[in-house]
């Protein structure tokens, strides 16, 4: 099994004070702690478990600056063979479709059976990279996966749906899977293991190494422009609409027309 796992270094914002910075388009991250994206950590563990059961190779992919190396080495220590870090200030990391293009360019160069990503990142929360990546690679995908079973030339997964329902999907390999948290219990990478992992291959690539043009993946080339990041003002203004369904519908319709929404 040749596997790629895409990982990202993100801030831990569970208890952090999140403030918008002076640009008005980003957060002030100077007081954050950073670590591997939670869902990605589960993907790393799942890949290692598959490798332990069936043999194979794992390559980690990460888009980020040198600070991301620690997260890559921790993953390598758990059971990867090699890693690629893509560092290029031209890449617009805020657009998941462009991120997927970059990752796909790194993966396309090689033969692979399975690509895993976390289902969602803890900072941007788009839940889109894995799915877009499958499109870029031209392979099937399943998102929000809570169980993975490798079969002969196929993979059978359980997807987590709303209401606690599970959907069973079978796909031909190669495929992309986005992993939901809780699928397993991620192991600990002891320091001695991380030290050993320093010897493993970690290549740092730029756009040119991936054969990508700047316009495909930069901010100007994005289909989405971030205008402003702000903390919404907390206000309360809720009007409870009473009456029969027909009465309520009329009241709402009038409000929508008067409010200029229709």
């Amino acid at each position: 099994m040749k596997m790629f796992v895409c990982i990202k270094r993100v801030p831990d914002t569970s208890e952090a004070d999140v403030k918008i910075d002076q640009t008005g388009k980003n957060v002030d991250s100077s007081r954050f702690s950073f670590g591997i994206n939670d869902a990605d950590n589960y993907a790393v563990e799942e890949a290692v478990l598959i490798k332990e059961r069936r043999g194979g190779e794992i390559k980690f992919l990460c888009i980020g600056p040198k600070d991301s190396d620690v997260v890559i080495r921790m993953s390598l220590a758990k059971g990867g063979e090699s890693a690629v870090r893509i560092e290029d200030p031209r890449i617009n990391q805020k657009d998941p479709l462009q991120v997927a293009k970059v990752l796909a360019a790194a993966i396309k160069k090689e033969q692979f059976d399975l690509v895993m990503t976390g289902c969602m990142s803890g900072d941007d929360s788009n839940m889109s990279v894995g799915v877009a990546l499958a499109e870029e690679l031209g392979v099937p995908h399943a998102a929000m996966v809570k169980n993975v079973e490798i079969l002969d030339g196929k993979v059978r997964v359980k997807r987590e749906l709303e209401g606690g329902l599970s959907e069973v999907v079978e796909m031909f390999l190669p495929a992309v899977i986005t992993i939901q948290t809780g699928i397993n219990v991620p192991r600990y990478a002891p320091i001695r293991g991380i030290r050993e992992a320093q010897k493993k291959e970690l290549n740092v690539l730029k756009l040119e190494d991936l054969g990508l043009a700047e316009e495909e993946v930069n901010e100007a080339g994005s289909g989405v422009e971030l205008l402003k990041l702000y903390v919404p003002v907390v206000a309360s203004s809720a009007e409870m609409i009473e009456g029969t369904p027909e009465e309520k519908a009329e009241i709402i319709a009038v409000k929508m027309v008067k409010g200029g929404l229709l």
């Binding site: 952090a16 007081r31 702690s33 219990v185 991620p186 600990y188 002891p190 001695r192």
Partner: protein, 377 residues
């Protein structure tokens, strides 16, 4: 026998054990868990068993209080055997997720609480406090402790220490925001590799200060720096040792009365591990109005609060009464209205036990520094 396993047998001198049972006989947790360290030592002699024994949940019940080491007639350290077994599990990566998180946090953020490095000095905001500058001579380097720095329940202890030091006009400087975990609990949890790395990093950082004495708030920090950092150029001292000296020399005066009945709980890492018993008592005796009571289980026989040995991150399987609750009951039975401690882990576990017993109105668990802050006026 492979060389790694031969190392385990020799390192812990397992064949030196005469199976007398004094260790298990004195082990405070043996009464409430399945931990029988005498049997663990015996079974660990067979190297084929190490892997299996390392997976037993009760090896995580040990609080590393050192009662076993104090009592062993052969001078062995049974707690180190348990830590060695934890090391086997840590190297496999298959530790409890809470342990994993604490260790990863020390590695990435320099503290076991998953808090950012950048907020380590937040407790000092608004306070008149001196930060030491590497290379600039200062008499006392102050090491706060991750738990005290980040836990809102304990941050007052750090503030009280600063206030007392300011009042006594002591020449001091804090390590500051470069302070990182002493790693006493990293060691107890069996992550030897990370511990070695932290010892190296801390030795380098602390030696960059031009100081002869480092003063800590936690007995764990004090003990680890004193006993496990051979290349550290300074003396490691617990705050009770510095403050009792200042009181004896008349450099600190306690003028306000604190009219309470207080009983002192000897922290294991201060008492059993390092034989510091007198200084905390001396301090309490100087407080006007205090009536000092003593537990029957005092000094070397102090009942471990179950906060050390990595227990802050490991849950026991036992449902029997916690030792801390036992201690609270004993304090009440003595008629104490204050249970005085000198360790952040003791405060957390004993305070939790106080609340679990519903006794917050009758008694308070406080650090000696909180009493001092009241008494200096």
């Amino acid at each position: 026998m492979n060389s790694e396993v031969r190392g385990f047998l020799e390192k812990h001198d397992l064949l030196g054990c005469i199976q007398c049972g004094r260790c298990t006989g004195g082990c405070p947790v043996a009464a409430r868990t399945d931990l029988n360290v005498r049997r663990v030592i015996y079974e660990s002699i067979d190297e084929k068993m190490l892997d299996k024994i390392s997976k037993l949940p009760h090896i995580w019940d040990c609080t590393t209080c050192s009662t076993c080491a104090v009592r062993c007639p052969k001078g062995l350290k049974p707690l180190e055997v348990l830590i060695g077994l934890r090391e086997v599990l840590v190297e496999s990566g298959m530790v409890q997720s809470t342990v994993r998180d604490a260790l990863e946090s020390v590695f990435q953020e320099g503290n076991p609480w998953k808090k950012p490095r950048a907020t380590r000095l937040d407790w000092a905001e608004g306070l008149e406090v001196k930060i030491a500058v590497p290379g600039e001579k200062v008499e006392n380097l102050i090491f706060i402790c991750c738990t005290v720095a980040y836990d809102p329940k304990l941050q007052d202890i750090a503030r009280n220490l600063v206030k007392v030091l300011n009042k006594a006009e002591v020449d001091y400087g804090l390590v500051g925001d470069s302070e990182m975990c002493c790693s006493s609990e990293v060691y107890s949890l069996g992550e030897a590799g990370l511990f070695e790395m932290m010892v190296e990093d801390n030795t380098k950082l602390l030696n960059s200060f031009a100081v002869n004495r480092m003063v800590t708030i936690s007995p764990h920090c004090y003990s680890t720096f004193k006993n496990q950092h051979p290349l550290l150029k300074m003396e490691s001292v617990h705050y009770t040792q510095l403050l009792s000296k200042l009181l004896a020399e008349g450099k600190l005066e306690l003028t306000k009365g604190v009219n309470r009945k207080v009983v002192f709980h000897d922290p294991c890492y201060l008492g059993k591990k390092n034989s510091v018993f007198e200084e905390p008592r001396f301090i309490l005796k100087q407080v006007p109005g205090m009536e000092i009571l003593e537990f029957a289980r005092k000094r070397e026989r102090s009942l471990c609060c179950e906060g050390g040995g990595g227990k802050m991150w490991v849950e026991t399987e036992s449902l029997k009464e916690r030792l801390a609750e036992n201690r609270i009951k004993d304090a009440r039975a003595l008629g104490a209205d204050v249970l005085a401690v000198a360790c952040p882990f003791c405060i957390l576990t004993l305070d939790d036990a106080l609340k679990a017993k519903g006794l917050e109105e009758e008694m308070k668990v406080v650090d000696i520094l909180e009493i001092l802050n009241e008494a200096v006026g």
